[in-house]
């Protein structure tokens, strides 16, 4: 099985550069604007897109992404509409990998089998489910792999060498290294420390390793891109979006460009990186 994720990382490896992975919340601040943002991301330089599935109780997210999820829910977003948004995006873009990221309960309530079938049909390539560690692989991970989706696991500073094989066992697509112990939007980690951590993970797997949490600026993205196969930016984009809203929290004509402009700047940073020696 090969997904758009596998194809994209193979392509980038040939070009000798690191991937830029963007995170946006589905339906933030409203379904239409959110789709427009999504469509603007590849052009602005996003190599892989993570789409947050809004949830009322995101226990690993900081205030920015919590608020983004609540704005989306207030705007009427549901998991069904998130899948519809991916379907609409796929009408114009059949190459950019889409990864859905979120928490298990909305999927469990949707029904695991119907969710996986609908996600695959919509054009989703992979899943990152924060509250499903390897200990719960029978819930969604194994069925997702059978359905032809990548199941991307988070590895963290607390995932030691003893545990890494269990974390990597059913991981595919890429490994998402959470650079700090903490919630999204935390302070950045030192890029040297991150580099050592990425090297440690690479001793256990041939999969690409992307790094997220705490990357906000083109400089930070460049530093990470020099040691990792990709860098993920989420909170900074969500904050840029929020900064463009009017006093009532509604989208303005500046909303799409506020996100797209920051993505362009960050993508420049990533592309300016010297690729680490393999």
């Amino acid at each position: 099985m090969s997904t758009r994720i596998d194809a994209r990382f193979a392509e980038l490896k040939q070009q000798g550069r690191s991937a830029f992975v963007t995170f946006v919340m589905a339906g933030d601040p409203d379904p239409k604007t959110s789709l427009d943002i999504l469509k603007a991301l590849p052009k602005a330089g996003a190599d892989v897109i993570e789409i947050g599935m809004p949830f009322t109780d995101p226990m690993a997210d900081g205030p920015s992404i919590q608020a983004a999820g609540l704005r989306a829910l207030k705007g009427g977003m549901t998991l069904r509409k998130t899948l519809a948004m991916v379907r609409d995006f796929r009408k114009e873009d059949n190459a950019t990998p889409i990864v859905l990221m979120g928490y298990y309960n909305p999927i469990y309530i949707y029904g695991v089998d119907s969710f996986l079938a609908d996600a695959k049909t919509a054009g989703v390539d992979g899943l990152i489910i924060v509250d499903l560690p390897p200990e719960e692989d029978t819930e969604l991970c194994i069925p997702a792999i059978k359905a032809g989706l990548n199941f991307i696991r988070l590895a963290t500073p607390t995932t030691d060498d003893k545990r890494l094989p269990a974390v990597l066992a059913n991981t595919s697509g890429f490994v998402y290294y959470v650079a700090v112990t903490g919630i999204t939007g935390s302070a950045a980690a030192d890029s040297k420390v991150v580099g050592a951590a990425v090297a440690r993970i690479k001793r256990h797997t041939a999969l690409p390793v992307c790094v997220g949490f705490g990357i906000r600026t083109p400089e930070a993205a460049r530093a990470i891109a020099e040691t990792a196969d990709g860098s993920v930016v989420g909170t900074a984009l969500v904050d840029a979006l929020k900064g463009s809203l009017d006093a009532e929290g509604r989208a303005t004509p500046k909303t799409v460009s506020a996100v797209a402009d920051l993505v362009s700047a960050l993508a420049q940073g990533v592309r300016g990186a010297k690729q680490a020696a393999e």
């Binding site: 009322t56 690993a60 309960n105 988070l154």
Partner: protein, 405 residues
């Protein structure tokens, strides 16, 4: 009844923390290694006679156990049926059953070398118990409490601060217990290396539901012994209120394999089950939140709904996973009491027995008026009086004063 009944109701959970389909370990990877460490540390402690011996000293001399099993004579006469006994958990140091669990977890935290303790709290009873034992053992203590609860449970906030704890008012979501638990989990993910999360109820990822149940089971074990001593036999029925369900599980668990004992849990029905309430079993369905699969209040999209109860301690949209299992197997019957019924029971117990109950416990007392009169005079009924009502006096006083006008 479920056709697939287990041989024993007391053998759970399995090694992966499941009670039937409920329970589990639905947490972020950052926490997973720590949860495995905790599981091991708790198993070691459980097997170490010195651990239990040390606990017993504190339970006796610091907590004040055993708590009495008291025959409520005037309440019994008033209701005109079953003989009602109150298990007096409100007489424990700190004023509720919460201290039983906190003592156990703090002893485990000490074995693990953790110096910083965090907790979530609704009514503040768990927060007070945690702040108390942190003071006793010289540990840093941070308590997350919904901003709404900080308002309605001021006496407990002041107590926690006097005990040296830092109380963090939580502003996210509905600003009650669920949100306090979210923020406690966020703290834990961030400070995983030095922090022990002292969960206040039989919920969260495995091993918490099992560990908290074990520490609370002293309630049921004592009740068994005391009833044998007083009446020469087992009780005929047990009643306890349920938010997450730790006082109930503590009373129920030692009796689950005694089929002659009827067991009733009482959820908070708030304004009524067709309106805002906190009765997850009566009005919810299975889902995944806060590390475990259990009955939850949620919408069609799987978004968690806000609970409502007059009692901050029951104001939670979920319930411990073992209760969900006992509900589905039919071993425990789950009822519910409204805010109004709890308020009436609060006043009834105060006037008849001179005991002001916590609003949480008043939900269990409320169901006595349905259950006790239907049963014969030789029926022995035990109610868990899980907490005392001092903390609720200002809130109830305001409500009653407003009604006099």
């Amino acid at each position: 009844m479920n056709p697939n009944l287990p041989n024993s109701f007391r053998s759970g959970p399995d090694e992966r923390g499941h009670f039937g389909i409920f329970g589990g370990r639905f947490v972020a990877e950052t926490l997973m290694p720590l949860i495995l460490d905790l599981e091991k540390a708790y198993a070691d402690a459980k097997a170490d006679p010195a651990f239990q011996a040390e606990m017993n000293v504190y339970l006796k001399d610091y907590v004040g156990r055993p708590s009495p099993l008291y025959f409520a004579e005037r309440l019994t006469e008033h209701l005109g049926g079953a003989k009602i006994y109150l298990k007096r958990e409100e007489l424990n140091h700190t004023g509720s059953h919460k201290v039983n669990n906190v003592l156990g977890q703090i002893m485990v935290a000490r074995r693990m070398g953790k110096k910083r303790i965090i907790a979530e709290t609704g009514a503040g009873q768990h927060g007070v118990a945690t702040a108390t034992l942190c003071a006793r053992f010289g540990l840093e203590c941070v308590v997350y409490m919904g901003a709404v609860d900080v308002e309605r449970q001021q006496p407990n906030v002041i107590r926690m601060e006097m005990l040296g704890a830092k109380v963090v008012p939580v502003q996210s979501g509905a600003r009650t217990l669920k949100d306090a638990m979210n923020d406690a989990l966020r703290d834990w993910v961030t400070n995983v290396h030095n922090t022990f999360y002292c969960i206040g109820t039989v919920a969260g990822p495995h091993p918490y539901p099992m560990m908290v149940r074990d520490f609370q089971s002293i309630i049921g074990h004592e009740t068994r012994k005391q009833m044998q001593e007083t009446e020469g036999r087992l009780p005929d029925s047990l009643i306890a209120c349920i938010g997450g369900g730790s006082n109930a599980m503590g009373l129920f668990h030692p009796f689950l394999d005694d089929p002659s004992v009827e067991i009733f849990g009482v959820e908070a029905a708030g304004h009524g089950l067709t309106q805002l309430h906190a009765a997850s079993l009566a009005g919810g369905r299975p889902g995944v939140l806060h590390g475990n699969r259990t009955y939850l209040l949620m919408d069609a999209d799987g978004q968690i709904e806000e609970a409502h109860s007059i009692s901050a301690g029951l104001d939670y949209p979920g319930i411990g996973p073992e209760h969900s299992w006992l509900h589905e197997t039919g071993r425990v019957k789950y009822l519910s009491a409204t805010d109004e019924e709890a308020l009436a029971a609060f006043q009834l117990l105060s006037r008849l027995e001179g005991i002001i109950p916590a609003l949480e416990s008043a939900h269990a007392i409320a169901k006595l008026s349905e259950l006790a009169p239907q049963r014969p005079k030789d029926h022995l009924m035990v109610v868990n009086l899980s907490g005392r009502g001092d903390k609720d006096v200002p809130q109830v006083g305001d409500i009653l004063k407003a009604r006099q006008k």
